[in-house]
């Protein structure tokens, strides 16, 4: 069976006065049915641009310049805008960090949800409403009938995010792209959202791409991890393998920067410098200027190499693997 999402060599560029700047430079990513894949990276790594490139929601200045994005085998780049619009919301949906990206502040929840439902399904009002109430109940909202009559500002942040998730899942899409959906939430509320998303993906077999900067969140929820740096996936593999024995020096540095993994009060190992911006990307490995393992070879562009089955690393000097 074809994977739900199959991305090969994806490149996305922003048109600027200085010419095309590539925010994504050769992304390869496969997500299977029912699988949760985490796309991890810091600000500017291109993780959100990856999400927008898949859903066709890139800003006007950006465009995909190369590569393939296949959803259930269908090449999304070949689709007309109208065909893409009919897929969006039905086959692929997105959840944002700020639920107000999904919600219209001046419309009641029921209006927004029934609109989203009836955009793709020929349903009567009453039936659409009943389905919306059921969808709210499914994401753990009490008294869904009463909530349907509310405006977004009358709901708490956690509740709004639940509504946005309910809308994303209305049509039981094959793929959901969640872009930092819990970053703005308090930790006890984050736990509630993680529980909902995790349960629904497992029950419905939805493939999920979870975009985040927080390694600890993905440790708890993801099956596989792809680590991004300056527009490239530098390492990907099963969650345990990547977190317990990272092969790319950047992944190692990222894990070591988390305070919880060190004895109290000890200096945290820090990665010197910062991520280059798009205008200052070096020719070869973008991480080389900050890397302790760099050599003359790193002036060339590293390609992803399969270090172990399902384990890809983009580095000339990968760290030794733990027992292969």
């Amino acid at each position: 069976m074809a994977p739900v999402l199959d991305i090969r060599g994806l490149r996305t560029a922003f048109a600027t006065a200085a010419g095309d700047l590539h925010a994504l430079d050769g992304i390869d990513l496969v997500v299977n049915r029912g699988e949760i894949v985490a796309l991890v990276g810091e600000s500017g790594s291109g993780k959100s641009v990856t999400g927008f490139s898949i859903t066709g929601l890139l800003p006007a200045a950006a465009r995909v310049t190369a590569g393939e994005v296949r959803l259930n085998g269908i090449d999304l780049r070949a689709l007309s805008p109208a065909a893409m619009r009919s897929l969006r919301g039905r086959k692929v949906a997105m959840i944002f960090q700020d639920p107000m990206m999904t919600l219209n502040p001046v419309l009641r929840i029921d209006t927004q949800m029934t609109d989203a439902l009836r955009a793709h399904l020929p349903l009567g009002r009453a039936e659409a409403r009943a389905r919306c109430a059921a969808a709210l109940a499914e994401v753990g909202i009490d008294e869904p009938e009463a909530r349907l009559k509310m405006y977004p500002h009358q709901l708490s942040g956690g509740m709004r995010q639940r509504v946005a998730i309910a809308i994303a899942l209305l049509h039981s899409p094959d793929l959901v792209i969640a872009d930092e959906p819990t970053t703005a939430l308090d930790v006890t509320i984050q736990g509630q959202i993680l529980a909902v998303v995790q349960r629904l993906c497992r029950e419905k077999g939805t493939a999920l791409v979870w975009i985040t900067h927080d390694l600890a969140v993905v440790a708890g929820i993801a099956d596989r991890i792809a680590v991004m740096y300056a527009g490239r996936i530098v390492e990907q593999g099963p969650v345990d393998a990547v977190l317990d024995a990272p092969r790319h020096p950047y992944t190692r540095g990222l894990i070591d920067s988390v305070p919880a993994s060190h004895p109290k009060g000890q200096r945290l190992p820090q990665i010197p410098g910062r991520m280059p911006t798009l205008t200052e990307l070096p020719e070869g490995c973008a991480f080389a200027p900050r890397c302790t393992r760099r050599s003359a070879a790193c002036a060339a562009r590293p390609d992803p190499a399969e270090a172990a089955p399902g384990r890809w690393v983009r580095c000339f000097h990968p760290l030794p693997g733990a027992g292969g």
Partner: protein, 339 residues
């Protein structure tokens, strides 16, 4: 470092006065209301103002050189507490004492308590060059002679990891991490004794966050600084703090040595909070979070504020507010289950 021992809870019977002592601090918002609103309320034409109790009877003490963490979720009052301690806001009642002396509320405020803000993008004046951002306060307050200001600023920049060559630049020309370093250098320029860090590393990427956390710890050692370290990130607080206050809806629900509190929480809220924090070593977690939203501080539940979400709540919790009291040496909690 764990030996930096804290004064007894409440601050009584300490030989050396704690550098910071906070007594029965309460802060209400919207108590007065507008003149027209009050007039209408007096005539019975409008509902009386319902003040928000952002901070409710908070007391604690911090010893010199100690790092006191403050954790809690939205609306718990941790930022209000930070602003009052830093002298940026007056309490509605209660007092702040510095090295044993009461600090008069209002201006001019002392320079010995400085604040580092969460957002280095909005806490620096965009129209000033870095040398002025850092150098203005020491020049105005005559902390160094006018002729020595440039060298003094360069030294601070170097100490905080900013290349002094960049002194002529504006804040927007720096990355988030660099901007936070400028904010720290600015705070240090007036030689404070206490830094209030309000989510000072929360907006930073994790690799940059590690750099700033290290800087805070180095400065503490070199300058003997005391910190009130406010953060929602329990991992960071555990790493930098000696003791911690756990807050919920304006009240301290638990306090004590940070490892004790996080490893053996007493209050059900602390337990829920610690359990909800994702950790690198917890894989494929079946999340079983506590239910319910954080109540609005405008309308807190009666009795124990946490009772609607508490799995252990009893009738007493719904009716009676638990008092924060000592449950073990150096350990305080506010929960009826301890009776």
């Amino acid at each position: 470092m764990g030996a930096l021992l804290s004064p007894a809870a409440g601050g009584r019977g300490v030989t050396q006065a704690p550098i910071l002592e906070v007594r029965h601090l309460t802060r209400l918002f919207g108590a007065g209301g507008s003149l027209a609103g009050r007039g209408l309320a007096a005539l019975g034409l409008a509902p009386p103002p319902r003040p928000v109790r952002a901070l409710d009877d908070v007391s604690f003490a911090v010893a010199r050189g100690e790092v006191m963490g403050v954790v809690g979720e939205s609306g718990c009052g941790k930022s209000t507490l930070g602003k009052i301690v830093a002298g940026l806001m007056r309490p509605s009642s209660g007092e702040v004492r510095h090295a044993g002396r009461p600090v008069p509320a209002g201006v001019p405020r002392g320079l010995d308590r400085q604040m580092i803000f969460q957002d280095p993008f909005s806490s620096l004046n965009p129209r000033k060059r870095v040398t002025d951002l850092i150098g203005e306060a020491p020049r105005v307050h005559r902390i160094v002679a006018p002729r020595e200001v440039p060298a003094y600023v360069a030294g601070l920049m170097e100490r905080c990891g900013i290349d002094p060559e960049y002194g002529d630049r504006f804040a927007h020309q720096f990355s988030g991490g660099q901007r936070q370093r400028i904010g720290i250098a600015r705070a240090l320029a007036v030689k404070p004794e206490l830094l209030v860090c309000d989510e000072a590393v929360s907006a930073l990427d994790v690799s940059i966050q590690a750099q700033i956390v290290n800087l805070f710890m180095d400065l503490r050692e070199e300058l003997g600084l005391t910190y009130l370290f406010i953060s929602h990130d329990l991992g960071v607080v555990r790493h930098v703090a000696d003791r911690v206050l756990v807050m919920y809806l304006g009240r301290v629900v638990e306090s004590g040595q940070v490892e004790e509190v996080f490893d053996r929480p007493n209050h059900p809220y602390t337990r829920a909070l610690v359990a909800a924090v994702p950790r690198l070593d917890r894989r494929r977690v079946a999340y079983a979070p506590i239910r319910g939203d954080i109540p609005s501080p405008m309308n807190p539940p009666p009795g124990c504020h946490f009772h609607p979400r508490c799995p252990l709540a009893t009738a007493r919790c719904r009716a009676e507010m638990p008092v924060l009291r000592t449950v073990a040496p150096g350990r305080r909690a506010a929960c009826h289950l301890n009776d």
